[in-house]
Amino acid sequence: MSFERTQEKLKILADAAKYDVSCSSSGSSRTNKNKGLGDSSGMGICHSYTEDGRCVSLLKILLTNHCIFDCAYCVTRKSNDIKRAAFKVQEVVDLTINFYRRNYIEGLFLSSGIFKNADYTMERLVSVAKKLRLEENFNGYIHLKSIPGASDELMREAGLYADRLSVNIEIPTEAGLKKLAPDKNRADFIKPMLKVKNEIVQYKAEKKIIKSTPKYAPAGQSTQMIIGASGENDFQIMQTSNYFYKSYNLKRVYYSGYVPISYDERLPQIGSAVPMMRENRLYQTDWLMRFYGFDVSEILNLQHQNLDLDIDPKLSWALRNLHEFPVDVNTADKRMLARIPGLGMKSVYKILNARRFKRLNWEHLKKIGIALNRAQYFMVCDSNQFERRDLSAEKIKGLILQNSTSKYTKTLSNQLSLFG
């Protein structure tokens, strides 16, 4: 490995891969049983954090930033005048192994621009993973990006060596994709996703009968979409997301606030702010769908097509549905407890456990560690004091915003003063 050449390639190909937000390295089941290198059976570990505060847990690189496509939102697009580079398969293997041995990373996240055609590219990605597993005896985490349009046979092989597979659907709506990525076709994303989904189901079923059946993508598949590049609203975004969770059993959908990188007229211009708050609200909504028992239509629908930026989506839902409250924490079921603004699932479990011993009052709830700042308006407990009185939704919202010290307060100061 020539140090200077590798160094230059790494700079280029890490820089180009940084817009992929997936950093998960958990959820797999690959124990080091063979005195080899690595173990990805536990939870993932963030070994460092970038200066923008994102977790660094995998070596996240492109195999190449040569690309035959010309997607407007992508730095690697064909028409962009940038330095191009491509790793050799062995170089990626050496980097991964040597970084892993020094405890810098949990494994590899390998994506790629598309040279020549989908299969040619996918084949190389697969051979990196294969080499790591078979020649280096590597049990660390491997996340491979599926190349849209790759053949079923290659997708099947990919899943045998990778822990996770993903294909980015890029833009939440088909119309948006047509506008920004005229070369790409949604059906090409779906095909490998469907193949992987079916293989996972099949391998799992076989494993129940034949124990020696190899693992297939044990950490499942994920996808990512860019937010704020193509004018879609939050309702459309979460509809898409919900569809992918339901139809393809995805483990995660990632939302990536668009970072302006081009002067293309179809896109927000360089210098416009990255929609980080919006991104955050979408993740909160995603969580409500996956862990809190909400149906997406309760939060976003034709009447409410966009999430509030100044309050979180659960509070927003609660304020629109005051008739469901107050909830009695001493008797309510888990589903309703989880719907109280300010209560996370951990608090819900604590309440369910604690209330078996005694009826809970405000003092108990505070000790358990519940953020009463928001929750107090939506619950009753073993106490005569009931905080909501007959407050209107606007009044409650005002009170909560007044008493919260959100890290975003500064950027939202205009909105805040409305309720002051």
Binding site: L37, S48, Y49, E51, R101
Partner: protein, 257 residues
């Protein structure tokens, strides 16, 4: 009446032997101190405790039968915090545990139980951070060497993690503050003490000791760390919350160019 002051050798077994002594002699007012920090008091009587594995094991087995698995590991975690006076909080907890028919490890209304749970949580956090922030550097002797300086004595807690993960390479994780380390020889992990040259700087990768390719991989890692940052999303407050400054001097990505 004066307190009895028990001096032990700083080991967990030594501490448990002290607890044994307290119960065996039915001592009502006792304090337990590590011999390295103990200062002789004017009015207390000092007793030197001899560490006896058998007695220690008996106390430990007793505790395990009284507490949940989580409760007993919290005791051990809290002990490893080396916080001033933690032995006495532990003793209080242990007395409470043995005097109660029920399992007390979730009785957070008891001050010692609450305190131990809080300390154990801090130690657990640092254990996790060490699993993340250990940076191995390849020596000329083909050993992957890491120097650390944790606030708490977490080496015993991370041994299993690193043994499972790096089964095919020789490695040493050395705690500079406490002057001992873990060493894995491809078969087992042992506790070692090393003498370092007088001018040995743990934060520098001196080419007298480290392999040539070590510099290259550190440089590659630093480059990677820089390239993967998105400038328009910079948020140093968040960055420092995740990677506290006290760890920076041993992180290769945080070394000056």
């Amino acid at each position: 009446m004066s307190d009895k002051k028990l001096i032990y050798d700083g080991t967990f077994d030594g501490f448990l032997s002290s607890v044994f002594y307290v119960f065996e002699n039915k001592i009502k007012a006792a304090t337990i101190e590590n011999e390295f920090v103990a200062q002789s008091g004017l009015f207390s009587k000092e007793i030197n405790i001899i560490t006896e594995e058998e007695k220690a094991n008996r106390v430990w087995a007793g505790l395990k039968s009284k507490l949940s698995a989580r409760g007993s590991y919290q005791l051990y975690y809290a002990f490893l915090s080396e916080q001033n006076g933690v032995e006495n909080v532990l003793l209080d907890y242990i007395r409470y545990a043995f005097s109660n028919a029920l399992n007390v490890d979730k009785d957070f209304s008891h001050p010692s139980v609450l305190k131990i749970a809080q300390i154990a949580k801090m130690v657990g956090r640092e254990k996790h951070r060490m699993e993340a922030f250990v940076r191995f550097r390849l020596t000329k002797d083909a050993i992957y060497f890491a120097s650390v300086e944790p606030d708490f004595n977490v080496l015993p807690l991370i041994s299993k993690h690193f043994k499972g993960r790096y089964a095919d390479q020789k490695w040493i994780i050395y705690d500079i503050k406490r002057n001992y380390g873990l060493s894995y020889d491809l078969k087992k992990v042992e506790i070692i003490n090393l003498d370092f040259p007088a001018k040995f700087d743990f934060t520098k990768t001196d080419d007298n000791f480290f392999a040539e390719q070590e510099f290259e991989f550190q440089k590659l890692w630093q480059d990677y760390f820089k390239s993967t940052n998105i400038k328009s999303r910079k948020n140093m407050r968040l960055h420092i919350r995740h990677v506290p400054k006290r760890y920076w001097k041993y992180l290769s990505e945080k070394q000056p160019d």
